[in-house]
């Protein structure tokens, strides 16, 4: 595969929904112009809560979180990672995680461009 050895990264951040806008704005500022967002539910040290409906308990273990995915070139990687970490942080439990995986290829669908150009 021609794309092997790429050093592009996919940064996946699970953040608090109320912080997502904040992160997005900060990323825009440092020149990140692409972002994909998914509503997810998370479970971690921050525990869920219990809802009562007519006295019946329903445990809600999972809390709403927002998953942000950003593909970055190796050169931007560090900056983006730090920006996300800083702007997503509230200091309270449940702030979330960032996962990084290596991308072996990226394609821009519209143009068919590949690799870093496509990000």
């Amino acid at each position: 595969m021609v794309y092997e050895g790429s050093s592009m990264k996919l940064i996946t951040a699970i953040v608090k929904p109320e912080q997502a806008d904040n992160v997005k704005r900060a990323l825009s500022k440092i020149g990140v112009h692409g972002l994909t967002m998914t509503e997810v539910k998370g479970y971690g040290r921050q525990k869920g809560h219990t809802e009562f409906y007519r006295g019946s308990e329903y445990e809600v273990a999972f809390l709403p979180k927002t998953k942000l995915e950003v593909a970055v070139s190796s050169k931007n990687f560090k900056k983006v990672l730090d920006t996300i970490q800083k702007t997503a942080k509230t200091g309270k439990i449940g702030d979330g995680k960032i996962f990084v995986t290596s991308l072996s290829a990226v394609v821009r669908i519209r143009t068919g461009e590949k690799g870093e150009k496509a990000i």
Partner: protein
């Protein structure tokens, strides 16, 4: 001669005039005002079922069973209309060979009910449809106990039989001149016929069908808010409409309904607030409101606003404990608390009607006016209804079970009845 003639003429005129007045009092004459109110009341009670009950229940089930739940209510409205047209009205409201239990067949297919036929001061046609809407909601309420697992085909046949074999006889006994009517049991708007009846049938059905595999929390309490609000609004047709006239009794029925409902609603919410849950919830205040509406139903034409306040208070508190504590202890899965609210609330209301009835309001005295016997009578009404309904509902369910499965298959239940039974889903 002339003098005599003139005298006769005068007397004649006066007589004629007073006879006319007299006749107006005796021979039933259509009253457009009463008719207007009863036409309105009929559609209000239909609105209580569709979309009222449909939405109230639809909001409380899981997301995979919303369509199924509302479809059940809507289908029941249609089925009961047909059974009422074919047989129900006749065996509820005509005289029959076994009149203490059930009426006769003379008005099957609504035979012979002309445009001019009256029932009191309103057309009999209006009375037919007004009563029909009660038959509908009673049957529709039962579903709440068996949602998320009942097989739609079984429900279909169950409702046909139940509306004829249970609703009509109970209706006849209380309102059609049957046993309980004769005894003097008070039930202004259907505490016995509608609420105890459906509540007990629901409990039996819940037990016969067994528990749901995995109950989930309500999908959308806002749907229930719409349903609950329309129930409240429509209930004025139910209670004030039961005066079968637009008069002072209707007005008082409406007013006491409002007071009892608000009281029960707040009572339930405040209990929750101070309970271990510590939070006043929407479902709590809605449930309390329904409990209050149920409990004031038999009492609506008999009590004062302050009597209504106490009935509401009792209903709010007792139904709260019935739904949150007692049910848990007993362990049956009456999914949406039909028994805990309609059954228990209906019983509370029936008994307290015997306590708070005031002669000046509805012509009957209760315990607070020294007539303790009325309470005993009310107990009689409750017991007869509970016994008859429980036994017959059980038999009908078993009978239907001979021909078709009562429960959806495990697979269907897991997939949700929306898709598995109706092929539809809410995206």
């Amino acid at each position: 001669m002339m003098k005599l003639f003139s005298k006769i003429l005068i007397i004649g005129a006066v007589l004629l005039f007073s006879t006319a007045l007299y006749a107006a009092e005796k021979k039933p004459v259509l009253n457009a005002g009463d008719t207007a109110w009863m036409l309105t009341s009929a559609l209000l009670v239909l609105m209580m079922s569709i979309p009222g009950v449909a939405l109230f229940y639809g909001g409380l089930v899981g997301r995979k069973n919303i369509v199924s739940t509302v479809t059940q209510t809507f289908t029941i409205a249609c089925i009961v209309t047909i059974t009422w047209y074919v047989l129900g009205y006749s065996i509820t409201f005509t005289e029959g060979t076994y009149n203490s239990i059930v009426g006769g067949f003379s008005k099957a297919f609504l035979n012979g009910i002309g445009v001019a036929a009256l029932q009191g001061t309103i057309p009999e046609t209006v009375f037919v449809i007004y009563q029909l809407t009660f038959a509908i909601i009673t049957a529709a309420l039962i579903c709440g106990a068996v949602v998320e697992r009942i097989n739609f085909g079984a429900l279909f046949f169950f409702i046909i039989l139940w509306s004829i074999l249970v609703y009509a006889p109970i209706g006849h006994m209380v309102w059609g001149g049957g046993y309980l009517a004769e005894k003097g049991v008070l039930d202004f708007a259907g505490g016995t016929v509608v609420h105890i009846n459906s509540g007990v049938a629901a409990l039996v059905a819940a037990i016969v069908l067994g528990k749901r595999k995995s109950p989930v929390r309500p999908n959308n309490v806002v749907l229930s808010l719409i349903g609950g609000s329309l129930l409240w609004v429509g209930w004025f047709g139910f209670n004030a409409g039961s005066a079968v006239a637009a008069n002072g009794t209707a007005g008082m029925a409406m007013l006491v309904t409002q007071v009892a409902t608000a009281t029960a609603a707040l009572a339930w919410m405040i209990l929750e607030w101070f309970s271990s849950e510590k939070k006043p919830s929407l479902l709590g205040i809605l449930s309390g409101a329904i409990a209050g509406l149920v409990a004031i139903t038999p009492a609506a034409g008999f009590v004062t606003p302050s009597g209504a306040f106490f009935i509401g208070l009792a209903a709010g508190i007792i139904c709260y404990f019935a739904c949150t504590k007692i049910k848990k202890a007993l362990g049956y899965d009456d999914s949406l608390d039909v028994f805990g609210i309609h059954g228990v609330g209906g019983i509370v209301g029936a008994i307290l009607t015997g306590v708070f009835a005031v002669k000046a309001v509805g012509g009957a005295s209760g315990m607070i006016e020294g007539n303790g016997g009325q309470v005993t009578l009310q107990f009689l009404g409750v017991i007869v209804t509970v016994a008859y309904t429980a036994i017959m509902t059980y038999i009908i369910l078993k009978f239907v079970g001979l021909f078709t499965k009562l429960r959806a298959s495990d697979e269907q239940e897991r997939a949700g009845l929306d898709l598995s039974q109706h092929g539809e889903q809410v995206s």
